[in-house]
Symmetry: C2
Subunit: 246 residues, 2 copies
């Protein structure tokens, strides 16, 4: 799907101009970073899911150190867009926990935390999604792939952005035939119990705060130190996570 | 080392009664959960590290949604003991980010978050430690093993507690000859880049907030939902992370 076709089809879903711009910016970034499964092809999927194009997320609690948002039927991308904009417009003095109920799909988590880091903030974001990962011993799916994305600004160069799903492959890989369904398990091979434990912890953390429907938990803070240049120097040119590929 | 010998030798280090009790409780819990590397044998190591037995951590910032602590030369165990007690005595209305500078050693992170969950709070805790994990492509150590521990209370039974280090083995395993130094790499085998990315993200998150000396970042929140019973039922008897071994 071309960018032009994606834009036209998003407009055809009844989304307003701001919403279309926000979705296109996310999809374009995903394409540019090689995450085609989160790129323009998602437009065809959005045409099948049924959502209220005029829905708007609502901020239910707004305190200095805590915010609670509700998706209210809006696409998760647009909930996160609203959270990122609100946070950059009014950053925490020290730190803030932001939770969002009914925030699906959440897209590429690294995209949202990168924007916060480009605005000078440290950010860590995790999200639940439909249960797809089984226990390493087998059985039914127990957790989502539950990525954890972390971004840290740097006084030199780009922020470092890590974005790790707990699955050995992605659900998109399975849908598109690049992986078999039985490969969608916690990553790590013989040490898959570690990725499974991370997925369980993140699943329950998010669910305890926002309930069983997919949602997100974001921690955002003002950095007091500048650790990225030191790590870059120690790495002696080895590629750090989230760096733009040459 | 027996519990009695451990207690006597801790007293011999000049630690007060409360401090000895706090350390003993941590070491006993580690022994009971099969983490002998974090148990009584640590007393012999503490005798070698040199610390100020009368040092007390200080809370530099105390707001509803954010606290900053400084270790002030106290053992990391005692900094975390003070943080756990203060948090249980005055829990957040919604959520709080707590950071601690110079908090080393931090011990078994699962021990601290479990106590918070037993007090009804959701908690996620990570910590930096000396750099020991190299890039998956090789080279010098770039990050600590940087565990992430998450605990969630449950209306039925014990909290679920996950506690995952990003190393394939522990530093203790290497010290005690159970693993070779070159095995202390990010876990995950062919997908070690994922555990490495997690270690990098957590390292920089902590360092950005508390500086280059080992420290901790804790997120603690009041749960609004009770997801553990549902997950336990879905798991159909399979062992979830942090469950007491039979």
């Amino acid at each position: 799907m071309t960018p032009g076709e994606a834009r036209t089809r998003l407009q055809g879903l009844g989304l307003g101009g701001d919403a279309v711009d926000a979705l296109m910016a996310h999809f374009e970034d995903a394409e540019r970073r090689g995450k085609q499964g989160h790129g323009f092809q998602r437009v065809a999927w959005l045409e099948t899911v049924g959502f209220e194009p005029s829905a708007r997320p609502e901020r239910l609690v707004a305190e200095e150190g805590f915010e609670r948002w509700a998706g209210r039927g809006a696409l998760g991308y647009l909930v996160l867009e609203a959270i990122v904009r609100a946070t950059l417009a009014s950053p925490p003095r020290h730190a803030r926990v932001v939770v969002a109920e009914r925030c699906f799909p959440s897209g590429v988590l690294g995209y949202w935390v990168r924007r916060l880091a480009e605005g000078g903030l440290v950010a860590a974001l995790t999200a639940t999604s439909p249960r797809r990962l089984p226990h390493p011993a087998g059985g039914p799916p127990l957790t989502g792939t539950n990525p954890l994305a972390i971004a840290i600004p740097s006084t030199t160069g780009q922020p470092v952005v890590t974005d790790v799903s707990m699955g050995a492959v992605t659900h998109g890989d399975v849908l598109e035939g690049r992986a078999r369904p039985e490969e969608l398990v916690p990553f790590g091979g013989e040490q898959a119990h570690k990725a499974f434990a991370l997925a369980v912890g993140l699943q329950l953390l998010v669910e305890a705060l926002v309930g069983p429907e997919p949602g997100v938990v974001l921690v955002v803070a003002r950095p007091e130190h500048d650790p990225v240049p030191v790590l870059r120097e120690l790495a002696e040119g080895r590629r750090l996570p989230g760096a733009d590929r040459p």
